[in-house]
């Protein structure tokens, strides 16, 4: 009756993918936000602004990372989880590098 391929458990590989791949991806998102989001690092920030913005960036990494880990178990297999998270973070860091070179 099932008209879908059920997801595999793959606990260990998915958990590691969420922890490692998820960390890479979340910090690539934080990198983009820190450099090109509001109060970005290229704009002239006052000492106080930098002090609080850096704290905010650090805080933001935790919910993003934990949400990625939480939803990593939705990937069909562990290998797929690794592939998606790593390629997404590669794209993230790529965009970050290009934008930092351009701007």
């Amino acid at each position: 009756m099932k008209n879908y391929t059920p997801i595999q458990a793959d606990w260990l590989s998915k958990t590691l993918a969420g922890l490692i791949g998820g960390a890479l991806l979340s910090f690539s998102i934080i990198g983009l936000f820190a450099w090109f989001g509001p109060s970005g690092l290229n704009s002239s920030l006052s000492g106080t602004e930098l002090l609080w913005k850096t704290q905010f960036n650090m805080w933001l990494s935790v919910p993003i990372w934990l949400l990625i880990i939480s939803f990593t178990y939705l990937f069909r297999t562990g290998a797929q989880a690794w592939f998606c998270l790593l390629s997404a973070s590669a794209v993230g860091y790529g965009v970050l590098a290009i934008l930092r070179g351009l701007l």
Binding site: G47, L51, I69
Partner: protein, 537 residues
């Protein structure tokens, strides 16, 4: 809402395993955390009222500070001016410092008499609330990694698991969410009551739990996260670098206390100055922290907002006070802290956080009970994991409660003994915890729970009884609560006593049903039944 069966199954397993591995640590963290909402009241309750000295008028603080700094050179390293009626007007550390849990700190308290003469006394610092805070942050796990207690990292990991448990719990509850929510069935299968209660507690306080899980992860791992963030920042500094000052400082140049208070009032209108902490006054690194309170705003700290100033130039170096120039990032970050500490909305919010903390502890306990009930097999023969988890659940939960209750119950009596009171607290806590833990494994969860809950009730009753005794027999040299806050500590203790006594009876009735294989099964129920019949006859 429909969710695919394989997803439900995956997230149900995830919920089970993340829950069972973190629940007992979180139980201790939440219960102790709920109590730390009233840390100032608890410390005032535990400190003999004679340890606090008479208040003086605000304009006499200048004279007081000058006298202290002139007669006690050590005070220039770390001296605190208190603007709170319940505390001595000034205090400084002879040994130790205000931060962190050290057991042998000695502090001076002082005030001025009518003739502007200094009255000073050295007292050991009673750190009852910091014992609770240590349990809150580490679940009582000792040892240090770097400068942080290793328990902090353990609880950080537990908080991560707890976040996964929250997400997975919501996902596998989604299909039946509306139907299950608000329906606590106590009929039918016993498991159902626990299941419905667990769901109700979890869903009703979900935002609070999400906040706590995320903030605890940040508190535990911020150093690692800043390290990683530095990689992303590249050559940009994380924080503004201020080269250390080289200007020599002389206490004679120190501005007046009234000028510092005025600075605080102009920087933070609407706030009250709670205390001013002056540090390293003789050194180029001199700085001052002004703690300010405004119950209408979200505070960055557990009790206060902070202003860091240079005490000589009166320049505000950094501040967490809500004011028009404050950036949105400062507001957001302060609110993350405030949401964890419940330091907004004054006493009402402190009571709400107290109740939520207790409800959280119940959520984790009920989760463990569900895990056990689900794994129970028919008949007497049970798996090893079931027996160990049953004993652990009762041992850890009741052990921590007994440890805390015993510390409170013995607190005032310990001041009569020639011992370091903070070391005595640690001994009482860990000894009580170990006794309950050992009993849970040796005598089984049922017997341990029935007896420990009774002991707990007695310990809690002992707290107000001690005060009544102090009032009736002045010769014992103890003291009676002298404010509403400290009196409430005893009222709450009494309420806990009633709950624990009732629970003991409840567990006893449960054990009488004597279901084979249940963790509440008693091997020899006769002793208990005969006790019961004696009581009823």
């Amino acid at each position: 809402m429909k969710v695919r069966a394989d997803i439900l199954k995956t997230y149900q397993s995830l919920h089970t395993w993340t829950g069972i591995t973190s629940s007992l640590l979180l139980f201790i963290g939440f219960f102790a955390g709920a109590l730390t909402m009233f840390a100032p009241e608890i410390d005032r309750w535990a400190t003999p009222s004679k340890h606090q000295m008479a208040n003086i008028d605000t304009e006499r603080y200048d004279a007081l500070l000058d006298t202290v700094l002139a007669s006690h050179p050590k005070a220039s390293d770390n001296v605190i001016l208190h603007f709170n009626d319940a505390l001595s007007p000034v205090s400084w550390y002879e040994q130790g410092s205000p931060r962190g849990l050290r057991l042998d700190d000695i502090r001076w308290h002082a005030t001025l008499d009518e003739n502007d003469q200094l009255v000073a006394e050295q007292v050991p610092v009673n750190r009852l609330s910091e014992l609770l805070d240590m349990l809150h942050r580490t679940a009582g796990i000792g040892g240090e990694i770097g400068h942080t207690q290793s328990g902090v990292f353990v609880l950080g990991i537990a908080a991560g698991l707890y976040f996964l448990a929250l997400v997975s719990g919501v996902i596998f509850l989604l299909p039946t969410l509306v139907k299950r929510f608000m329906a606590v069935r106590d009929q039918g299968e016993r498991k159902r009551f626990w299941l419905d209660g667990h769901n109700l507690l979890g869903i009703a306080s979900l935002p609070f739990h999400i906040v706590i899980a995320l903030t605890v992860c940040v508190f535990a791992f911020h150093d690692l996260l800043y390290g990683t963030l530095a990689q992303v920042y590249g050559d940009k500094p994380l924080f503004p670098r201020n080269p250390p000052s080289k200007i020599e400082r002389n206490i004679a140049d120190l501005p007046k206390v009234s000028e510092m208070v005025a600075l605080a009032q102009s920087h933070a209108p609407g706030y009250q100055v709670a205390q001013i902490k002056l540090s390293n006054l003789n050194k180029p690194s001199a700085f001052a922290t002004i703690d300010v309170v405004n119950e209408g705003e979200v505070a960055r700290g557990a009790l206060h907002d902070f202003m860091f100033i240079n005490p000589y130039t009166l320049e505000v170096v950094s501040s967490s006070v809500a004011h028009p120039e404050q950036t949105v990032w400062a507001r957001l970050v302060s609110s993350f802290f405030g949401l964890h500490f419940g330091s907004y909305g004054g006493d009402l919010m402190r009571w709400v956080y107290f109740m939520m903390g207790l409800a959280g502890a119940c959520l984790f306990y009920s989760g463990n009970i569900l895990w056990l009930e689900k794994r129970r097999q028919k008949g007497m023969q049970q798996r090893r994991a079931y027996r160990i988890m049953g004993a652990l659940t009762v041992g850890v939960c009741l052990g921590a409660l007994t440890g805390i209750a015993a510390t409170f119950a013995s607190s005032k009596w310990l001041t009569l003994l020639p011992v370091n009171i903070n070391q005595a607290y640690m001994f009482v806590y860990y000894a009580s915890f170990s006794c309950v833990m050992i009993s849970a494994f040796v005598y089984g969860p049922a017997k341990t729970a029935i007896n420990t809950l009774k002991v707990l009730a007695l310990l809690c009753v002992l707290i107000p009884v001690t005060s009544v005794l102090a009032g009736l027999v002045p010769a014992v040299n103890l003291w009676f609560p002298n404010s509403l806050g400290t009196l409430m500590v005893e009222v709450i203790a009494l309420a806990f006593a009633v709950v624990f006594w009732w629970l003991s009876g409840h567990v006893k009735r449960r054990a009488m049903a004597n279901e084979p294989g249940s963790i509440w099964h008693l091997e020899t129920p006769d002793t208990i039944t005969s006790n019961l019949s004696v009581k009823h006859s």
